[in-house]
């Protein structure tokens, strides 16, 4: 019991530091500087789950509504997201990807993640399997 507690405390510590540094590295690796990682994350969620309200997207992304407003304003300005009034609830705004966003996301597979893809290919198949599982677990933790 104590052993487990000690283990998880140490793991929490190491995992937090690793994520901090890895995230830093990923953010600075940007090639196309117009669309940031935050923007891309929001777009990816819209692509995966389809049109949704601003509040729903904020919840998906684990940010507060005002933070999402900012992101959406920027994305609309870039012509990547459309904002239309909800059909029956006038308070809500429905967000939807534009064709330009779909094009961007399609191209992104080759360009945006190029650096990380390259590094991943240098790993062993077993290491990639670990990261694949870890990604799912981290998503679960982020939602907890």
């Amino acid at each position: 019991m104590i052993r487990t507690t000690l283990d998880t405390a140490a793991l929490a510590h190491d995992l937090r530091l690793a994520v901090t540094r890895f995230n830093r590295r990923l953010r600075t690796q940007r090639v196309d500087t117009s669309v940031t990682l935050t923007h891309l994350s929001a777009l990816s969620t819209l692509k995966r789950h389809g049109p949704m309200s601003a509040g729903e997207l904020a919840a998906h992304e684990r940010v507060q509504p005002p933070s999402m407003t900012r992101v959406v304003v920027a994305l609309e300005g870039m012509g990547l997201v459309s904002r239309t009034p909800h059909a029956t609830d006038g308070r809500q705004v429905v967000l939807e990807l534009t064709g330009a966003a779909r094009d961007l996301l399609a191209a992104e597979g080759q360009a945006r993640d190029a650096w990380l893809s390259g590094r991943l290919q240098e790993l062993s198949e077993q290491e990639r399997a670990v990261l694949r599982e870890a990604a799912g677990i981290m998503d679960k933790l982020a939602a907890a």
Copy 2:
């Protein structure tokens, strides 16, 4: 070959999103608001590797020197780090943890990582093993 490329591209994508959201979650989980995660990461590195110059610490943390200057100024202001001139090279500044920082890091194991520790204990032993391995791999990637 193509299969592997496709796999790593998809993994790069999913891993990036997972890290983005997980990192967000960790940063917002702060309890003690005086010392931020960035500060804590720098302190942990100093603890693990011992006294070093500002440039070395910046390299360890994967940030640019001016960014580290800011962090160090803040930490010195809180009495957590001392800055002393290098013995032989007058350009360098040697950074060292203070006793207060050691106390803080010792207490941190219980307080700071409490949220994450709690979540980790809800996982299976196998999932924790995956994260343990993943932390090492992510550190390697951050340094690549």
